[in-house]
């Protein structure tokens, strides 16, 4: 089993291959927003360097959004076309949730935040529990302050649970009050993140390796689908559609 994963939702594109044991091969582009140009060449090089063929792939995964609309489309349409020709299934990986795999050993809240302009973000909060990713703030579009409020509310709730658990002898309370922020939103809204802890730079942004890992879990859970059903998750209508609805 091999899954090829494409990540094109942010500034840097990356591609990764995961095998049944969870071993990862990855390639990242140093360039910025050159996904269309280098995505297929990166796939070709990654395969070649590891003596693999595209025909060895059992599924194609794409980071389906949110993120740059154009970026999402490059990844999703490439994945659809590859799967169509290779006659394999696809996996549409939620981009925000995949960040959990950027820090699989972290106990606190993993909070990816993408810049959606005009004080808006695409964001969510996730936490590892017993080897499972829990979504504690739904991955969705938010106003930046609205999202941060939600994160704090989730933490308060966690804190209370922990206080209760500490009264029970032998229980190991998870570290509440721990949170890490990821994504380009931490840069775009840096004033909002003053005093907050940001994820280490090498794991702060999107990575195809994380997309591949989540894709593998999803495939095991039966989430693989036909290429025709692989759709972007823009999380937002086109500007023209929103304006039209406002006028109606």
């Amino acid at each position: 089993m091999y899954i090829l994963a494409l990540e094109t939702t942010g500034a840097h594109a990356s591609v990764a291959i995961i095998n049944e044991e969870g071993k990862i091969l990855e390639k990242r582009s140093e360039g910025v927003l050159n996904h269309l140009q280098y995505l297929m060449p990166m796939v070709k090089d990654l395969l070649k360097e590891n003596q693999l063929q595209l025909s060895d792939m059992t599924a194609i995964a794409a980071s389906k959004g949110p993120g740059s609309f154009t970026g999402i489309r490059i990844g999703v349409s490439s994945a659809r076309a590859l799967a169509q020709i290779l006659k394999v299934e696809t996996i549409g990986v939620p981009t925000l949730k995949a960040f959990a795999y950027n820090m699989p050993d972290y106990d606190g809240l993993i909070c990816p935040v993408f810049d959606a302009r005009r004080n808006q973000v695409y964001a969510g909060a996730y936490r590892w529990e017993d080897g499972q990713i829990h979504e504690l703030v739904k991955g969705a579009p938010y106003l930046i302050d609205e999202f941060l409020k939600k994160v704090r509310a989730v933490e308060d709730a966690l804190q209370q649970t922990q206080d209760l658990q500490e009264d029970i002898p032998g229980s190991i309370g998870k570290a509440a009050g721990m949170r890490l922020f990821f994504g380009d939103g931490t840069k775009a809204y840096k004033d909002w993140f003053r005093g907050e802890e940001l994820a280490p730079e090498e794991v702060r942004l999107q990575s195809a390796a994380s997309v591949a890992k989540l894709a593998r879990d999803m495939a095991e859970a039966g989430a693989a689908q036909s290429y025709e059903d692989l759709k972007p998750d823009y999380m937002r209508k086109a500007e023209a559609e929103r304006k039209l609805e406002q006028h109606e």
């Binding site: 489309r73 999703v76 076309a81």
Partner: protein
Amino acid sequence: MKDGKLVTLAIESSCDETSAAIVLEGRQVLSNIIASQIKVHQVFGGVVPEIASRHHLDNVNRVVDEAMKEAGLQMGDVDMIGVTYGPGLVGALLIGLATAKAYALAAGKPLIGVHHIQGHICANYIAHPDLEPPFMALVVSGGHTNIVEVTDYNQCRVLGQTRDDAAGEAYDKVARVLGLGYPGGPKIDKIAKEGNPAAVEFKRVFLEKDSLDFSFSGIKTGVLNYVNSRKQAGCEINTADVAASFQQAVLDVIAAKTIGAALKMKKDKIVMAGGVASNSRLRAMMEEGCKKEGLALYCPPPVLCTDNAAMIGCAAYYKYQAGERDELTLDAVPHLPL
């Protein structure tokens, strides 16, 4: 290969049509599937790039699948993949390109990027099996207005182009002013048939002497001013007359410059291409003008005038025959020069 003939799979997605075609030996079209988004964009009064891109993504694989099925071929039979890489809307172009590149990599086929205008010109090779270069080409559409000297299958030179709006763009804008809706070209063409082309005198913009360039932004303003002044004076506006007069002013310039270019460059053939080449008045005027000057006129049927992948397949074939191949790094170029 099919029956010893080279098979091209072509994809076009530069504006609001998602199209895929299978073409044999450059000129024989086995399938030419076009998914039009006109209805999607009508409510916005024009093409919305973000929405066009979203629809291209939803449509492209199915359109290719249909083209393959209709041709009765498999990816294994395909010898090359041709794709439009510019000019056009970048977000729209990249869906066709990302798809074509993934196909090229997955199926191990050569990739050939095609210039959209080159494709439009090539539509004539499909429609007219005997046509060969050299000739003069007039490319008129919603996005382009070009007079192109075609010296060989892969060699051409732009002699004239619009300095502002494309002819089709002027049609769309004037149609909006007249309340005819989108897309403007076919609507103005239809209503103009009932109007008097000499009813209103709109300025013909020929620019400098000997220039083969065009300018259509002025006439749009001219129509707008005329309509507004009539409204202010409380006069009724005869839409058919205004449409016919506007159209005549635009087409007088286009026809005169194209025929003039052919004569000047000593070409005995003129080919028309692009969406506006379907315009019945333009066709009639060009026929009349060419007959008078002893020039042969070629024009594709409407389905090959509109954006379609068959014409891209034809252009890709001639590039392939000339030994041209593109790398997987091929990028979308929204303002690609010819």
